[in-house]
Symmetry: C2
Subunit: 341 residues, 2 copies
């Protein structure tokens, strides 16, 4: 059973020293004579040598590993961002250690410990719980950290994500333009995830600014309960004697859009007559009959920015101020917000 060749064997095969081989693979070939380079290259090829990253990491702390902690790997948004992160890593010669917490704070702690035990050089966190203390300890130790999508109060770290206020503004403007005057905002429980809070807050502020009426409903129970609440919203009589005003639903993210669509279809609502708009673009949004209007996040850009932020960190200098990188979404207008249909 042939073992993998080590740097020593390559050195012997090439008639050179460890040091030279090491330099060769560390990208310092310009400091070697062309002849030596050639010999080393040939030897390495013959022996199929690859530097052992474990040993490399042990020495200088250069593991070339980036850790990414995702709250829900089955969320297409997370995967899309991960795709961007991966591409950026590849361009930098970094490897990506991915852990999924399934929104379990306990698991999150476990995985955090796991990743640090592999001496990751940077950490991208899409938090499920509030591991503030653990994370702060890591940044204090000089580990570059980037928060993805979800903010964490007590941690000084860059944040990369959506411009939630702008997103809600775009949504409200679009809905108002299309003639919807009474809105129902649907969200998952906003307690633990900062974007949910930001979006909800902005929604409520945005209503009054635009003289719209509306309310928010937090999904917690069953599909049935959601459907009941939507039905109540759609069927109750218009307020204050004003004439009948078109009503629309605004969904805080992809999961909510799915649930809301299911509910609307079950209620027999006609999309468009009943407005429907969601944050996060999904495969199937164009398929549901007149098409569902969405706000698409630039997931690839978000992913790449996460790595860029990580790399921009002055390594050990923790003096750099935490920055925010907020990306603007794009409105994809479809039939579900077209009254004339």
């Amino acid at each position: 059973m042939p073992r993998r060749a080590t740097i020593i064997e390559v050195a012997r095969e090439a008639g050179a020293s460890k040091t030279s081989v090491s330099r060769y693979f560390a990208g310092e070939r310009d400091k070697l004579s062309p002849a030596l380079c050639e010999r080393i290259a040939a030897a390495a090829l013959r022996l199929d040598y690859r530097p052992n990253q474990m040993a490399r990491g042990l020495k200088g702390g250069h593991s070339r590993l980036i850790g990414m902690l995702v709250a829900d790997i089955r969320n297409p948004f997370s995967v899309a961002v991960m795709h961007g992160v991966e591409r950026a890593c590849r361009e930098q010669g970094l490897a990506l250690l991915v852990c999924n917490t399934d929104n379990d704070p306990e698991l999150e702690r476990t995985h955090l410990a796991l990743m640090t035990s592999y001496q990751v050089e940077g950490l991208i966190i899409n938090a499920s719980g509030s591991p503030d203390a653990e994370l702060q300890a890591l940044t204090d130790r000089g580990l570059p950290l980037v928060l993805l999508d979800r903010e964490l109060g007590a941690v000084e770290a860059d944040l990369v994500g959506l411009d939630n206020a702008r997103a809600i503004d775009l949504a409200l403007d679009h809905l108002a333009e299309q003639g919807y005057g009474e809105l129902l905002y649907l969200s998952e429980p906003p307690e633990r995830a900062s974007p949910r809070r930001e979006r909800l807050t902005r929604f409520q502020a945005g209503l009054t600014a635009r003289r719209l009426t509306g309310e928010a409903y937090t999904m917690s129970g069953s599909d049935e309960e959601l459907a009941r609440n939507i039905e109540a919203f759609l069927t109750r009589s218009a307020p204050k004697g004003s004439g009948e005003v078109p009503r629309a639903l605004l969904c805080a993210n992809g999961a909510v859009t799915l649930a809301a669509t299911r509910a609307l279809l079950r209620l027999g609502a006609r999309l468009g007559k009943t407005g429907l708009m969601g944050i996060d673009e999904l495969d199937w949004c164009a398929l549901i009959d007149p098409g569902i209007t969405t706000l698409a996040q630039p997931t690839e850009a978000i992913g790449q920015q996460a790595i860029a932020s990580l790399l921009a960190k002055p390594g050990n200098q923790a003096d750099a101020k935490a920055r925010q990188h907020r990306f603007e979404p794009r409105v994809i207008a479809r039939g579900s917000t077209r009254l004339s249909g």
Copy 2:
């Protein structure tokens, strides 16, 4: 900037030797006196010590790392399997290094090299190209290997995936039962992915066995072209003077189902009257009007089996025969294969 404590510091703090501390964390506590255990535990806690996996991996080759190479991370099926893999890893105290090849054989080679440089203890491969030589070299070196979903001719390794023949049989039986007699099988180019070939072959064999008529179309071009072909299939006159027979589409995987649904809706077809069935269950299949009938793969089980197979490999003994673990799908019948609708 506080560094992470090392085993030496813990040993000193606990008044013990490196060896004992190492044993403590290697799970050999039963070979230590309770008193020593206690002292080590206390010292480790005080210093917030965590074993350095890099150093561990260097010594014994025990990186506790599993590599997973995915052809397309944005395919929900892959993510679902990955979820199962991850869970299994966690239960075994393993970490998962995930790489996405975006179906690029070049990238696949790169990532393969990357993973081995991290001394992964096992590899799960959902192949994009045919890195047979590289993989065989790895198994020869004693690295446990599992092929996921896609077979690779020249490599002796376990395969975990769908029972494709059974899946097609189930689909054909279901369609025939529901009264569809003329079928169009839609697939992506079958050249490089073994499941596509297996499914296609079985489809053609299954037709004659059931006295159904049908044909296969390989998607390669645009949506428009697909729509044209589907339209041609749906509108041409019945063969051999037999009366009009209900027609149905069978989609080889989730991506195809999406494209086919788009095409059908554009053509204004009524689902059910025109049958539609797809392999792979997706979020939105229940949403499209009468519901789209699917074959759901047991993704979680597949993922867990992949790790189980990896761990079952006798490590260095390459004598173990390559086994196949074929899972049976489940029919989720919906309106798209109900003629009466």
